[in-house]
Subunit: 380 residues, 2 copies
């Protein structure tokens, strides 16, 4: 990726920002609490509300509720609508008739915002991250809106790494691109040299050491024209399909019918690969907030206060001679552990999981077995 080439023609001063929350996910890694129709963002994995609701509450000081959209999948639409009730207008929840990866979702997001404001600036944010420092998050988001509103750039919020993670893509930052905000609130925006896919451990260790690399958390802030131009330039095939959605929205045709027809035909490709890796106008703001994507059960532990033996529990849990376990139980059921260490034990009304923390990555192998069960449709 070359040096960011940008012009700085600001968007109209009064325009309000938009946000599109991408609420997808397969619901595998938090099984049996998560299911296909109830993945991580619909669960209170951490906190008292589903992560999606927490995300909506976190952005609402920055973006008006009427400008907040949620894109989800058909199978999750009902539950997502329930969580969104009272937080955003129900018409702002849009269901993809089929999963077509993130580029299509971003194209749909741009179409939704563009139908309201052809010059609109919007953020695309994941629904299922855990962020405790809401004030810092909102400040970073405001800075990103300011940058994306001031110039034809794609802004990504990069997460400064705290460990050599191999499960995330990375963003390599370049020199200073500019500054947004005034005085103490001023933030440096950096050029992006390149996006890199999930690295091997040794490479991740170098990234961590260098200080130039940040985790790509899938948080992008940009304007409708910038995104449309990127689709036209780097993903023309996909853009042709998206044009039909934009046209239907302009003509106020029913969206669901258009999506049912067009969406399944869209190219299946990630937005990183389709647009960001190929664009030269990408900039980044290093996040000043805490961030965790809580990738699987063991990651939950650090958000809870453990007992003296290091056990983390939610619900009715009794342990004896047991250490460093993670135990979740549903209401009205007591889970008891005697003499076991380092396990994950999760009880729900119809299924219980027992595994060592170290085996959390192998849960797909177990779910393949569950898929053969006579009640698989309900269990998965």
């Amino acid at each position: 990726m070359a040096k960011a080439k940008t012009s700085r023609s600001p968007a109209p001063a009064q325009s309000e920002p938009y946000v599109v929350i991408i609420a997808g996910g397969k619901g595998e890694r938090f099984w049996p609490q998560s299911r296909a129709a109830r993945p991580k963002h619909l669960l209170p994995v951490v906190g008292d509300e589903p992560l999606l609701a927490q995300t909506l509450r976190r952005v609402k000081a920055v973006v008006p509720a009427k400008n907040t959209f949620v894109i989800t999948s058909a199978v999750q639409a009902r539950e997502v609508a329930k969580v969104c009730r009272g937080l955003i207008p129900s018409a702002n929840v849009v269901a993809e008739p089929a999963g077509r990866d993130t580029a299509a979702a971003v194209g749909l997001a741009a179409a939704l915002v563009g139908a309201r404001d052809p010059h609109g600036v919007f953020a695309v944010l994941p629904a299922d991250h855990v962020i405790h420092d809401t004030k810092a998050y909102q400040a970073d988001l405001r800075a990103a809106f300011a940058a994306a509103g001031a110039a034809e750039v794609m802004v990504t919020i990069g997460i400064p790494p705290t460990e050599p993670a191999t499960g995330f893509g990375y963003v390599q930052r370049g020199g200073e691109w500019g500054r947004v905000g005034e005085g103490k609130a001023a933030k440096v925006v950096y050029e992006v040299k390149r996006f890199v896919e999930k690295p091997k451990l040794e490479v991740a260790q170098q990234y961590l050491k260098s200080g130039d690399y940040m985790w790509n958390a899938g948080m992008f802030i940009w304007s409708v024209p910038v995104v449309e131009a990127a689709f036209a330039a780097h993903a023309p095939e996909l853009d042709a399909g998206l044009a039909k959605i934009r046209s239907a929205l302009k003509k106020k045709r029913p969206l669901a019918a258009t999506l049912a027809k067009v969406y399944p035909t869209l190219q299946k490709i990630s937005v990183d690969y389709a647009l960001l890796e190929k664009s030269t106008n990408v900039v980044t703001i290093p996040a000043t907030f805490d961030w965790d994507d809580v990738g699987a059960w063991p990651a939950v532990a650090k958000h809870f206060t453990p007992d003296a033996a290091g056990n983390v529990a939610r619900g009715d849990v009794l342990v004896e001679q047991a250490a460093n376990n993670i135990v979740f139980s549903e209401k009205g059921h007591v889970v008891t552990l005697l003499g076991v260490d380092d396990l994950v034990v999760v009880h729900t009304a119809d299924a219980t999981l027992v595994m060592p923390k170290a085996k959390a990555q192998d849960i797909k192998a177990l779910l393949a077995k569950v898929a053969g069960h006579k009640r698989a449709a309900k269990l998965l």
Copy 2:
């Protein structure tokens, strides 16, 4: 104990045998399936019926249903009556108002049988043993009835040990006392030298090697006069209390009211200690049937066919990369194990237990914790 001194005045030829099943137990070792009100004998720990029902079916070819009594505790009485329904008359289920150990229960048993037949021969048998070879069991029981009907002896069925168990008392046999039965069905009856309490491992190993010792399984066969004489001789205090029960039964007074008044005052002592260790007329028949008291969860495994990885499961259970586990799940709930070995996992509607097999003996420590739970009354 000296050589058995016995006279051989047989009981009347037509008298039918009686049996009194002792269905007590605390319901701790099979928690959470077992509870105070639902101990092991009320569970289908092995097989498809509660162990009590299996015991009743096993004896019914030897003893008529009308002559079969069950003594249980007040807290278990309702469930016991349910299991006995259709198998024995409901009036034959008698509840102890308070647990007073086995000597009092045997005294009550003798009173119940004596009210029907003052010379009656009866067996006292535990309700919660697992025995697969019913024919051999019935043959041994018939031999014991024959011996107890032919002479003033206390017959115990001894279990030839298969390992140096430290959890059972032992019976040391002496020389041949006599024979019962004809031809191929003839069985040797041995004198009993002494009863010994649960030994240390080294002692148990000597017992196993000697061939003279058998496990005391709490199976006794004797006549009403023999038992009454033993109480009078060796436990006069207890006998005085039991006399009130015998008298009430003779006068056809309501048994429950008498028990409520008298039973809690009875001396709390085991029948082994109160009678058998002090009697000189004890003989034994070595069991020719298989026998298991299934003392705790790990003992269950050998009664099931394991999968290729050595897992034993009942109910909806799915395992992946898991070996040598024992997993029980209740209907409509699937228990899944990923990457764990040698665990016991038991799921019931309101409680789940996860422990290594090796920790099964420590379950009391866990139950002490459960006792502090707000729903302890239901959970225990």
